[in-house]
């Protein structure tokens, strides 16, 4: 029988679980979110431990802000065993403290670096690739389906950039939406908030056409290079990118 420890599904609860397991010296085979469906050979272990809010501050103080960030990015990834990876990482980080990132001979350090870079990279790409449409009442609406769970990171970016707008960003894959009201954003699941949107609208079509005209004009025919374009703008994002959607 494998012992699998489960947590609430949010980051703080994962950190709580990890620190509790380390403190109590338990044997750990896997850590998974609540909604996970176990196999026959797995034994699920729940425990009710009080959440300690100060854990985040503690991590920032003892490991440094960039390590704290990297850990959070790993949590946002779709990596199969990210919880277990973070568990091992914290184990060594408690030993090496601020020097943990130099321990490149440790596999967990290399993995945390690789995965956090990947998440950060995707969120940076989508800062550019996300496309809003204007719906009625000047509401801006965007859909995406990113590999990693970057809705929170993107919401931080757009609450600065589109500060004086009402906007909604929807992660179609995860069925979650972020709603911004010119002051702050909240992230809700689709169950909690039903979206009913009227999409067709002439003015919007006119502007999309203007943009497509610009896009199709600006490329230089003599320098056509599709391989290069695809490298920078992978096909998996095209479905939601106004100017290339039709090329699919």
């Amino acid at each position: 029988m494998n012992h699998v420890y489960v947590y609430d599904g949010d980051y703080l609860s994962l950190l709580n679980t990890i620190f509790y397991l380390l403190k109590t010296n338990q044997k750990v085979e896997n850590i998974k979110p609540e909604n996970y469906s176990p196999t026959l050979f797995e034994n699920i272990i729940h425990f009710n431990i009080p959440k300690q809010d100060h854990l985040l501050d503690q991590i920032i103080q003892s490991f440094g802000i960039s390590v704290a960030r990297a850990m959070y990015y790993v949590f946002l990834s779709e990596e199969e065993k990210k919880e277990l990876l973070l568990y091992y990482f914290v184990y060594y980080a408690l030993k090496y403290r601020k020097k943990i990132m130099y321990q490149r001979n440790l596999k967990c350090v290399r993995e945390v670096l690789r995965i956090s870079n990947y998440v950060l990279h995707e969120s940076h790409k989508l800062k550019g690739f996300l496309r809003f449409q204007e719906l009625q009442n000047h509401l801006l609406y965007a859909e995406m389906s990113p590999t990693n769970d970057i809705l929170f990171l993107l919401s931080c970016h757009f609450s600065k950039r589109l500060k004086n707008e009402f906007w909604i960003i929807k992660d179609v894959k995860r069925k979650i939406i972020s709603i911004y009201d010119k002051k702050k954003f909240v992230i809700l699941s689709e169950r909690e908030f039903k979206l009913s949107l009227e999409k067709e609208n002439d003015q919007e079509k006119m502007i999309e056409d203007l943009w497509k005209t610009f896009y199709n004009t600006i490329g230089i025919q003599e320098r056509k290079n599709d391989r290069c374009r695809m490298n920078f703008m992978p096909k998996k994002y095209w479905k939601y990118i106004t100017e290339v959607r039709d090329e699919l």
Binding site: Y102, E165, T213, Y215, I220, R223, N225, D226, F232, T242
Partner: protein, 403 residues
């Protein structure tokens, strides 16, 4: 003429300008629309693989001048269009809100006079900033020959200002662009350089040179770039391979734009700015042009073969920078990492070193990547040329498949 058609004409005329970057400015908004990102954001990639981050358009493609290499020259019979300032604002804002773009790149042909054109550009940008409170990125062209007062005014409104030097030597400029003088361009650069601050052209100035429309050598071009970086602290010099759009006895009759050459110049430009190389290290009167088969850094390393192989675990930062395949970032990573553990070949890859180039020039703890007897100039040169060829062919294959 409707807006669609205007945009088509005025984007088409602007597309040969190489610069697209939107970095280097950190504008925050309290009220109003938008901000700028210090590291720059690409919003899309055009069919030629270039990043689209700004709405790159001309205010008008009408022009009283007749520069030989330019699509918009007076003597060409092409469709002409002129935007109104409000039209430019409306497109910019609508695109920006939908996250199509990072901002605006506004250039223009010359209408009536340089001053008259500058005033139109200023009017447009000032509407954007003051009436619509737009805080996104704006890059504007300063029109050579316009008065200093206008250059001053425009610089207070934009993030980046640029004046194109176009050609590396005065003689060629006279021949191909008889209405322009490099004096006009350098006086703008000089003014911007002396006044640049957080409030005035915060993202600095850049310029562009056309490559392959004239006979100048790579050495001429690089010397010009180096002197521009030195005298005016430009952020970037852009190189734009000449695309044969006009037939003219003044111009070379080429079919393809010289893209390999353009690429070599960018590589060398990078070496000047970040790797402590000087033009004289790379080119001289005997070799006035870059080797088309090998990139400039590898070429330099082969010509200084007795300085290699370099030992990764001990050599200095400056020596690390001279190794082909090692960049500023990876050199710094090596520096911190080697304090904590001994670096092996496998580690280098993770640190961002391009091993397929670097491996020929380095030792890791006294070891070469294969038997040391292979450390010979001819053998390495052959391999490097082969690597480049494969890379290029992969690219070309792709292009062939498309046609």
């Amino acid at each position: 003429m409707d807006l669609q058609e205007k945009l088509k004409i005025l984007a088409d005329s602007a597309k040969y300008d190489a610069s697209c970057s939107s970095s280097g400015s950190n504008r925050k908004s309290k009220h109003g629309v938008g901000n700028t990102a210090l590291s720059g954001i690409c919003h899309s990639f055009a069919s030629d693989g270039r990043c689209i981050s700004l709405l790159k358009i001309l205010f008008t493609n009408c022009c009283i001048f007749d520069c030989k290499y330019c699509l918009n020259r007076r003597s060409n019979s092409i469709k002409r269009a002129i935007f109104t300032p409000e039209e430019v604002c409306s497109i910019t804002l609508n695109f920006y809100r939908r996250n199509y773009i990072e901002g605006l790149f506004l250039s223009s042909g010359i209408l009536k006079s340089p001053d008259y054109t500058m005033e139109l550009i200023i009017k447009t940008v000032s509407l954007l900033r003051h009436k619509y409170h737009f805080h996104g990125y704006i890059h504007a062209k300063a029109i050579p020959g316009s008065s200093q007062k206008l250059v001053k005014e425009l610089g207070l409104l934009v993030d980046r200002l640029s004046a194109n030097i176009e050609l590396p030597t005065e003689n060629e400029l006279k021949r191909l662009a008889p209405n322009k003088t490099s004096q006009n361009v350098s006086s703008i650069m000089n003014y911007v350089n002396q006044n640049q601050s957080k409030k005035y052209v915060p993202a600095g100035q850049s310029t562009q040179m056309i490559i392959g429309a004239t006979k100048e050598s790579d050495l001429d071009i690089m010397n010009k770039s180096a002197s521009l970086y030195r005298s005016f602290h430009l952020k970037r010099v852009f190189y734009s391979a000449y695309v044969p759009i006009n037939k003219d006895s003044y111009l070379p009759s080429i079919i393809c734009p010289p893209l390999t050459r353009e690429n070599r110049l960018y590589q060398a430009d990078w070496l000047l700015r970040f790797y402590h190389f000087q033009v004289k290290d790379l080119l001289d009167f005997k070799h006035p042009n870059f080797n088309t088969m090998i990139d400039p850094k590898a070429d330099w390393a082969l010509r200084h073969f007795d300085e290699f192989p370099k030992e990764i675990s001990t050599c200095s930062y400056y020596d690390l920078l001279k190794i082909p395949g090692i960049g500023v970032k990876s050199a710094k990573r090596i520096l911190t990492a080697r304090k904590h553990f001994t670096i092996h070949f496998e580690d280098l890859k993770r640190m961002g070193v391009v091993l397929k180039r670097a491996k020929y020039f380095i030792l890791c703890n006294g070891k070469y990547f294969i038997n040391h007897k292979w450390f010979q100039k001819e053998w390495i040169e052959k391999n490097l040329v082969l690597e480049e060829k494969i890379e290029k062919e992969e690219n070309n294959m792709e292009q062939l498949r498309l046609f």
